[in-house]
């Protein structure tokens, strides 16, 4: 699944990032890469999502959220 089909308030782990080269590199520099844990804080119908990564909140647009492939992450 991608970040678009996630639930608010749950942790996920990034499995893969399928973005255009430049977006992917920007995400990586921000610490969003394969294996990173992500908490979904908020999501709108339009797909705009707020996530928490490494202690910081990020607002991301629909098309970026769409390219972040995640899987459930067990908090333990």
């Amino acid at each position: 699944m991608t970040l678009l089909n996630t639930q608010k308030g749950k942790w996920y782990q990034v499995r893969n990032i399928e973005e255009k080269e430049n977006v992917q590199r920007r995400l990586e520099a921000l610490g969003i890469l394969t294996g990173t844990r992500v908490l979904v804080l908020n999501q709108k119908k339009s797909g705009s999502t707020i996530i928490r990564v490494r202690g910081t909140r990020w607002a991301i647009g629909r098309d970026i959220a769409e390219g972040i492939v995640v899987e459930d992450y067990d908090e333990k």
Binding site: E28, S46, S48, R57, W58, A59, I60
Partner: protein
């Protein structure tokens, strides 16, 4: 003598880490703002001294990493690598240490003296966290770690002390130790680099960058080593850096009381609510507007009394000096009536910018980008493009400059087209005056409706532009939402003071000159000074435009002249009306009655007034905006097309309002 060397310090840090506040606290007024050569990135330089040691400081743009994907990153990278930079002060937001340390790790790899300035320690405490200030430097190659508070001006001397004493020491460049296989590669690349470029100072840094396949480094330090540089190891390198950071954070950061965490998240559940986010935003803007109108009006009385005294005093004083009539007329009817009239709006302007400053400093502005992302997405723009538009309520000039934050040139231009339709503070005096005169019962609503209208025009226009440019996908939203914090009085005071200063200096320059020019064209004709205003240059010019403006209900030569004069600055519409109708204190009750009576004689009523306000909302904001759009778009063709479009749109809209309005009323 060692002391004669001036230490050069570069300030580097993430956006929102309080770097600029710290920089301002250190340099005070001793600063110089310019652009970096060749790019539209601001370069701020300042100086200070500590115990006789002169220190120069450069404030670099806020960046998340030292890659070379954005202009800001390239500029910062080139600067810190320059030989004359002695020390790097890395400002970090201690409350989000994990992300901030990534840049730190990259800086450390340079092997240059780095000092870590830990800002926002108060937030850390508030959130019930604690940072081990002894363990942290140990894990960062024993660099000095100085807790500072930019807002409370604490720790500044300790920081300067560290700069003075640390600048000559080199640091361990090997803070992050990568996996064995990577380290092996790094040392063989280092070896070959050393053979080929014996003077290269940043061996480890360059080796790592080559392994990351960094474009700029590949060009500058090409190395023929296909056996080692067989592919990009960027992912591994980033991952291992973050692994180490996680280790650091785990060891130095303690949660004493985790219950305090998440205050921001609680506030965000309302402010960024999927449904309520937009109404809340509109409510906040309406409240800001309400304050601007009511409190501003209450304060205005004081200014009016002062202006009245000045007008009478100046007239009497000049008459006492036996000044000739034209001098008295120039000073009293021209300069004081024009400039003074504008100054009475200062309370409104002050409140508006105070509110915008608080919204920005508290961290809410970034949320607006998220809240509006869906709506903006429908017109093909990212939520980020909405921020310049909000700033446009203050002043169009900085708003147009703020479009720089959009990566795509096409998005930038479209946002530049939309921004002028946000009613800037210079348009406020026009709304205040005409709403109060012609809609006395509903003045606030009448004025607010223009703000909404501007917004609607922008949205419709954005949709049309989005249709034209279909297929071209907009740059997507990717934006940090900072922690909410209590707005800082000092930061906001500086912000508001700068805007008020701009307004005052505009009153002193542009509006001053415009008032004199208007006075001149009204009091002089081809035969010299005239007693009958109908003979003046202004009347001739205005009469010529009357038939054109008549369908919009603006067929009064005085209005025509005021609108033309308004191109210098929108407030001038008001000041020239004052001069044109010879009303000395236009913003007072007596002044307004005088004006509406004068206008009423020409059959200029409420519908005409509304058409006038619509015209003022939509037509070209001012010369300064035109100049800024030209500078930012770097295209005269684009700028001129935009101006023509604005004039046409304003005209058509005013005609529609007047014609339809006349049928109803």
């Amino acid at each position: 003598m060692k002391n004669e060397h001036i230490i050069q310090v570069a300030f580097v840090g993430n956006p929102n880490c309080g770097k600029t506040t710290l920089f301002n606290a250190l340099t005070g007024a001793n600063l110089k703002v310019a652009n970096w050569p060749g790019v539209t990135v601001e370069k701020k330089e300042g100086y200070t001294s500590y115990k006789g040691q002169k220190i120069n400081l450069v404030d670099l743009p806020g960046i998340y990493s030292l890659t070379s994907y954005s202009i800001e990153e390239k500029v910062s990278r080139r600067c810190v690598m320059e030989d004359n930079i002695d020390v790097i002060v890395n400002v970090v937001d201690a409350s989000s240490l994990e992300r901030n340390l990534y840049l730190t790790m990259q800086l450390l790899e340079l092997g240059k003296p780095v000092i870590l300035a830990m800002n926002m320690m108060d937030v850390v405490k508030e959130r019930g966290m604690e940072i081990d200030n002894h363990r942290l430097p140990e894990m960062l190659g024993h660099i000095p770690v100085v807790p500072v508070s930019a807002r409370k001006r604490m720790g500044l001397n300790v920081l300067l002390h560290a700069v003075k004493h640390h600048y000559e020491e080199d640091v361990e460049e090997k803070v992050v130790v990568y996996s064995d296989s990577l380290e092996q590669k790094i040392s063989s690349v280092e070896q070959r680099l050393h053979e080929k470029y014996p003077d290269l100072r940043y061996l480890r840094w360059t080796a790592v960058k080559l392994l990351e396949a960094d474009e700029e480094t590949l060009e500058e330090y090409s190395l023929d080593a296909p056996d080692i540089l067989d592919r990009s190891y960027e992912k591994e390198i980033i991952n291992q850096k973050y692994d180490y950071i996680e280790e650091v954070v785990e060891e130095v950061l303690f949660y004493k009381d985790s219950s305090k965490e998440g205050k921001t998240d609680k506030v965000d559940t309302l402010l960024t609510h999927p449904f309520w986010g937009v109404p809340v935003f509109l409510g906040i803007m309406a409240f800001v507007f309400f304050l601007t109108f009511t409190i501003g009006d209450a304060l205005k009385g004081v200014f009016e009394v002062g202006l009245d005294m000045l007008l009478n005093g100046a007239g009497a004083f000049l008459a006492g000096l036996n000044a000739s009539d034209w001098v008295i007329s120039l000073v009293v009817d021209g300069v004081i009536a024009g400039v003074g009239g504008i100054l009475t709006f200062l309370p409104n302007i002050f409140i508006l910018f105070l509110a915008l400053g608080i919204l920005e400093d508290s961290g809410y502005m970034a949320r607006v980008a998220y809240v509006m992302d869906g709506i903006m997405g429908r017109v093909g723009l990212s939520g980020k493009a909405f921020l310049p538009m909000v700033l446009g309520f203050g002043c169009t000039v900085p708003a147009v400059m703020a479009t720089r934050t959009l990566e795509k040139e096409a998005d930038r231009r479209r946002t530049m087209i939309l921004t002028p339709f946000m009613s800037c503070s210079a348009r406020l005096p026009i709304y205040v005056l005409f709403s109060s005169m012609f809609f006395p019962q509903h003045a606030a609503i009448a004025a607010f409706s223009l703000y909404v209208l501007g917004l609607l025009v922008a949205i419709v226009l954005a949709m049309i532009l989005g249709k034209i440019k279909r297929g071209e996908s907009a740059g997507s939203l990717l934006m940090e939402l900072p922690e909410y914090k209590m707005p800082n009085a000092r930061t906001i005071a500086i912000y508001v003071w700068e805007k008020v200063k701009d307004y005052l200096s505009k009153a002193g320059t542009t509006i001053f000159v415009a008032s004199i020019v208007i006075w001149f064209i009204l009091n002089f004709g081809i035969h010299g000074m005239v007693t009958d205003v109908q003979q003046s240059f202004g009347a001739v010019l205005g009469h010529w435009l009357e038939p054109v403006l008549a369908p919009a209900g603006l067929g009064l030569w005085q209005v025509a002249v005021a609108l033309i004069a308004g191109l210098s600055a929108k407030e001038v519409v008001v000041s020239s009306m004052a001069v044109l109708f010879g009303i000395s204190n236009i913003n007072s009750a007596a002044g307004m009655t005088g004006m509406s009576t004068a206008l009423g004689q020409f059959g200029f009523g409420a519908v005409n007034a509304y058409a006038l306000m619509v015209f003022c909302l939509l037509y070209t904001p001012c010369m300064a905006t035109i100049a800024t759009i030209k500078k930012e778009s770097n295209s005269w063709a684009f700028t001129l097309k935009l101006v023509v479009f604005q004039l046409l749109l304003a005209y058509v809209a005013a005609v529609v309002v007047f014609q339809v309005g006349s049928l109803i009323v």
